[in-house]
């Protein structure tokens, strides 16, 4: 298990006026999927690369499990951290199996166990080893190549995985499938993931934490719901689409529209407080009732009403007129 702490991290590149990263501080708890979300040029890749010392902060520090990265040997640090990039970067003269095995090879592990592990890794990322082991990267599709890239990053069984827009070059269908599989894999491995993306949908789908960056500054860090329910800046509000009704329905919990009182027909329709607005609205549409009782731990905590949800969404800037975009 691995946690990351950014402490007043600033990075200046020679010749550039503005810093690429300016005084960024936040924590990534162990086992979390933290998304670095921002437009291009926001510094998210620069921030990511400071974690495995592909670049060091000009001031401030990055700590892994409480130890500043600059006090750790860069080579051995990188060997303990998985790294996946959009361009995949498989070596074209090596087969799929050799590309995965290169990670144990560089630490001098040529044991038979490392060979067997390659097959297990390919299996894990959804590539049948018998079919893919001997292929060259030129014989793979973009999605297959990125699966190999992921297998390679997992080869040393790192507790921390850095991913720089890994699915950015894939078509929408492949991208969604890879996102689902990453979540599946993460469920069993429980690694700490730091994941760069400019795709808000991807950030919301994968992240338990999202750090929003703009022009090198940290705008906000929080859960998807926190970003949506309480955007800290107008930039965050615009970026996450706080006025996007569908996203609000999908991510905001019913408790954001909770009203006190008990509905007369509450016993008929209940909804757990952990649900989001979307299932609540769908339940209302199905049952024809405009009021639901919200329950937690078997107790009624209050009600949500269609009018209440509408008020709550409007209050957050959601446009529910027909011209409003979803």
């Amino acid at each position: 298990m691995t946690s990351i702490t950014f402490e007043h991290v600033t990075k200046r590149f020679p010749g550039a006026n503005a810093p690429a990263i300016a005084d960024v501080s936040f924590d990534v708890p162990s086992g979390a999927i933290c998304m670095l979300l921002g437009t291009s040029g926001s510094g998210k890749t620069t921030l990511l690369r400071m974690v495995n010392r592909l670049g060091d902060p000009t001031s401030g520090q990055v700590l892994i499990d409480g130890i500043p990265t600059v006090e750790q040997d860069a080579i051995s640090l990188r060997r303990r951290v998985g790294y996946v990039i959009q361009q995949v970067g498989l070596l074209p003269h090596l087969t799929v199996a050799e590309n995965v095995r290169i990670v144990p090879a560089i630490i001098g592990d040529r044991s038979p166990a490392s060979h067997q592990r390659v097959d297990a890794l390919l299996e894990q990322v959804g590539l049948p080893p018998d079919e893919y082991r001997a292929r060259y990267p030129a014989q793979l599709s973009g999605g297959q190549a990125q699966r190999v890239g992921l297998a390679r990053a997992l080869a040393a069984d790192p507790s921390l995985l850095l991913m720089d827009e890994p699915f950015g070059a894939l078509d929408a269908i492949t991208r969604h499938r890879m996102q689902d599989e990453l979540l599946n894999i993460q469920r069993t491995m429980q690694k700490t993931l730091l994941f760069v993306t400019h795709d808000v949908d991807e950030a919301f789908k994968l992240g338990d934490h999202i750090a929003v960056l703009s022009e090198g500054r940290l705008e906000q860090v929080g859960s998807p719901v926190e970003l949506l329910a309480a955007p800290a800046t107008p930039f965050v509000s615009r970026l996450v689409g706080a006025d996007n009704i569908l996203r609000q329905f999908e991510y905001l919990p019913v408790t954001t529209a909770l009203e006190p009182g008990i509905a007369p027909d509450a016993l008929a329709e209940r909804i757990p407080a952990s649900e989001t607005l979307l299932p609540a609205v769908l339940r209302m549409m199905r049952s024809g009732q405009s009021t639901l009782a919200v329950e937690a731990d078997g107790e009624i905590r209050g009600v949500v009403t269609l009018a209440g949800i509408s008020r709550s969404v409007r209050a957050r800037g959601g446009d529910i007129s027909e011209s409003g975009h979803l």
């Binding site: 495995n52 990188r78 790294y83 990039i85 970067g89 003269h93 990670v103 090879a105 560089i106 060259y136």
Partner: protein, 220 residues
């Protein structure tokens, strides 16, 4: 063809037999190419890393390349006499321009993204050379070696003028005695050697290029 097919011209005991001359030609060319590579590889690596050195190095090699081979070798006689050195030194120097240019081009052509991912995986400098730069640059370096080797086999044909026997001996000897068959035998043997070397190194180039469908071949 009769000269080539005559078993008497392949006798192993005769130092001027085709077989012996072929071996001599191979040794002279092979030795020249080995020394040439031993010089060009470090020079190429240095020029690829310190770009300011590239232009002076490649200009010097280019100027040497323009010297006529006969004159160059003749000019060395006061220093090295009639010996292999008189032939090998120009051959080594001529090869430099092609070899160095290809080595630098090969290293330049290595995708910096792959070097970066190598670093990110935790490779040290030596491992990046070994696992990333060298294998990716090798096909282009071998392509340069191929061009230089074929050229060297050809130029080496004048070696007999400086007392070094090889397949060129058949040509010069045939001229002197107006023995047309012998001249032809020499021409065919040298050409065959050049073609075999070319094809052999092409196969080597293919072998080090495995996995890559499209080939990048820089020519000198």
């Amino acid at each position: 063809m009769s000269y080539l097919l005559d078993a008497g011209h392949w006798s192993w005991s005769d130092p001027t037999s085709i077989g012996r001359l072929l071996i001599d030609h191979l040794i002279l060319t092979g030795l020249s190419m080995m020394i040439a590579m031993a010089i060009a590889v470090p020079l190429g690596l240095i020029a690829a890393r310190y770009r300011r050195l590239y232009l002076p190095v490649i200009t010097a090699a280019g100027i040497i390349y323009t010297l006529p081979s006969l004159a160059f070798m003749a000019a060395l006689i006061p220093f090295t006499g009639l010996s292999s050195a008189t032939v090998v030194i120009p051959l080594v120097l001529y090869a430099q321009v092609v070899l160095i240019r290809n080595i630098v081009a090969a290293i330049d052509a290595v995708d910096p993204g792959l070097v970066d991912i190598g670093r990110a995986m935790g490779m040290d400098g030596r491992q990046i050379q070994r696992y990333v730069i060298l294998p990716l640059a090798l096909p282009v370096i071998v392509a340069g070696l191929r061009v230089a080797t074929v050229t060297t086999i050809g130029i080496a044909t004048i070696a007999p003028l400086f007392g070094v026997r090889n397949l060129g001996y058949l040509i010069f000897q045939g001229f002197n005695t107006s023995y047309k068959e012998q001249v032809m035998a020499g021409v065919i043997a040298v050409s065959a050697l050049a073609i075999i070397a070319d094809v052999g190194l092409l196969l080597a180039q293919r072998a080090v290029q495995r996995g890559r469908q499209t080939s990048v071949v820089a020519r000198g």
